[in-house]
Symmetry: C2
Subunit: 235 residues, 2 copies
DNA sequence: TCTATAAATGTGTTTTGTACATTTAAAAAC
DNA sequence: GTTTTTAAATGTACAAAACACATTTATAGA
C-alpha cells in the first residue's frame, strides 16, 4: 500500500513524571540528560517511540531500562507538541505519570542507575518543556487522588492510617481532622486491618492496614468525594 | 544542529469526536473518508499535524476546514498508538473531543460540508480504531460532566431548566427528580434567570436561563458532586 | 507506678441529599 | 368566562454525610 504523500513525519517520544513518597514529602525521580544539547542537565525519564511498540509499551520499556522499575501505576497524561519544544528536531512528546513505592526501589536506583529522587519542592529546573509537564502531573495527581484511591500506589504494602493521612496532607498541602479522615477511609471498605502495629512513630503504636486489592480494582470509585471541598485544590 | 540519529519518524494525526445535542439525544458528527483505503466509509474528522503547528492548532484547523466550526469546546483526550492502527503507514493519532451547540451550525453543515450528525446510539461502524475513540470520549463526557459544567457547551445561549435536565438525563441515560435537579443547578449560582419563557414545551412555559460566563470560568468546579452517585455512571 | 504522646473512638451540630407532595401559570376545551 | 389539562415551580420532612470538637486508650520510658 502506498504511503500518505506530502505529509510531515516526525519523532514521537514519551516522558515520565515519576512520583514517590518518603513518608514526609512527595518526591520526583529525575535523570541526567545523556546527549547534547543540554547534556548533563536534569530531565524527565524519556525515550523515542520505536516502530514495533505502542506508547504504553514504550513508557514501560524506558522505565525498565533507566530504573529497573516495572509493573507500576502508569497513566497517559497529555501530548506536548509545540513545534520548537525540542531544538534538535521536531519531536512530539507524550507524557506519562507514574506512582511508585519509593522504598521498593531505593537501593537499586542509587547503585545501578543514575536516577535521583528530588523533593518536589526543591527540584532543579528541567530542560525543554519538562517543567510544564511536571506542573500538569502535579495537578493531575491532586485531581485524580481526590476522586480515586491512587495514592496507595505510593505506599508500601502495609501502612498505618496516620501514615496515609500524612500522605494526603502532603499531596494537598493541608491538614485533615484525624477522626473524620479515618472514618472516611475506613468507610470505603478498601482497607484490611492487620494484627501488627507500627511502633516507630508512637508509644501506643498504630495498626497496620493492607489494601484489599480486589476491592480496590472493583471499586476504583470508592473515593469519589473523598477530599472535602476538592475545588480548593485541584484546579 | 544535528538530528537524532537512528530513530523512527512517523506521521502524527488528530481525530475529533464531536458531540451535539438535538434537544432529545446526544449526536455525533461524522464525515466520509475521502481517500483509500476505506474510502467512502464514515470516520471521525481528522487530519495530519503540520510542521508549523501544535496539536490544538491542528485540531482547530481541521474542524474549521471540514465543518466551518470555530471557537468551540475542545479538549485533548488520549493519544492512540497501536503500530498497525492505520494500514497505510505508521500513524499515531491524538484524539480530541469537542462539544458544540448543534443548532448554531446545522444549516452550514448540511449545505457546505459533507459532515453528518448521527444519533450516538445509531452511529455506523467507523474505520480503524475510531470506534474505540468514540467509546472513550463518551466515558470522558460522563466523567467530566459529573464534575464540571461542560454540558452547557451543548446548549444554545438561552435554555430552560427542564431542557438542561433532559440533557443530563440523556448523557447519563437515567432520570432525575426535578425538584432536586433544579435546586442543585440553581445553587451553583451559574445561571441567570431571564424574563422570557419558552412556551414550546408546555402551557405554563419554562423560564429561560443564561449561563453566567464569568462565574462559569471562575467557578469551573461548581458542579463537583453534581451527579448523585457518579460511580454508577462514569467508569 | 506515673507520665507523656500519639492513636483511636465518641458525639452533637450543621449541611446536603433524597423522596414525595403541593401549588402555580397559562393554553385549550368547553 | 369558566373549567380542564399539563408541565413548571416550589414546599417540606426525613435520612445521610460532613464537620468540629472532646474523650478515652495503649504503651514506652521516666
Amino acid at each position: 500500500m502506498n504511503r500518505y504523500s506530502k505529509q510531515t513525519r516526525l519523532l514521537l517520544a514519551i516522558d515520565c513524571i515519576i512520583f514517590g513518597f518518603d513518608g514526609n514529602d512527595i518526591k520526583l525521580l529525575l535523570v541526567k540528560r545523556s546527549l547534547e544539547p543540554e547534556k548533563g542537565k536534569w530531565n524527565l525519564m524519556g525515550g523515542f517511540l520505536r516502530a514495533d511498540e505502542n506508547l504504553k509499551e514504550c513508557a514501560n520499556r524506558v522505565l525498565k531500562q533507566l530504573t529497573g522499575i516495572e509493573g507500576v501505576y502508569l497513566e497517559q497524561l497529555r501530548t506536548f507538541s509545540k513545534p520548537d519544544r525540542d531544538p534538535v528536531e521536531r519531536t512530539v512528546s507524550v507524557s506519562y505519570f507514574a506512582l511508585i513505592d519509593i522504598n521498593k526501589y531505593e537501593k537499586q536506583l542509587n547503585h545501578e542507575y543514575s536516577a535521583e529522587w528530588f523533593l518536589l519542592a526543591e527540584k532543579p529546573k528541567l530542560i525543554f518543556d519538562h517543567d510544564e509537564m511536571v506542573k500538569l502531573a502535579q495537578k493531575q495527581l491532586r485531581y485524580k487522588a481526590s476522586l480515586h484511591p491512587i495514592l496507595f500506589e505510593l505506599l508500601p504494602e502495609k501502612f498505618t492510617i496516620p501514615q496515609l493521612q500524612g500522605l494526603y496532607e502532603g499531596v494537598y498541602d493541608t491538614s485533615f481532622e484525624n477522626r473524620n479522615f479515618s472514618r472516611k477511609v475506613l468507610s470505603t471498605g478498601l482497607l484490611m486491618k492487620q494484627k501488627e502495629k507500627d511502633k516507630i512513630n508512637s508509644k501506643k503504636g498504630a495498626f497496620f492496614y493492607k489494601l484489599d486489592k480486589k476491592k480496590y480494582k472493583a471499586n476504583f470509585q470508592a473515593f469519589l468525594n473523598f477530599i472535602p471541598n476538592p475545588d480548593k485544590f485541584i484546579m
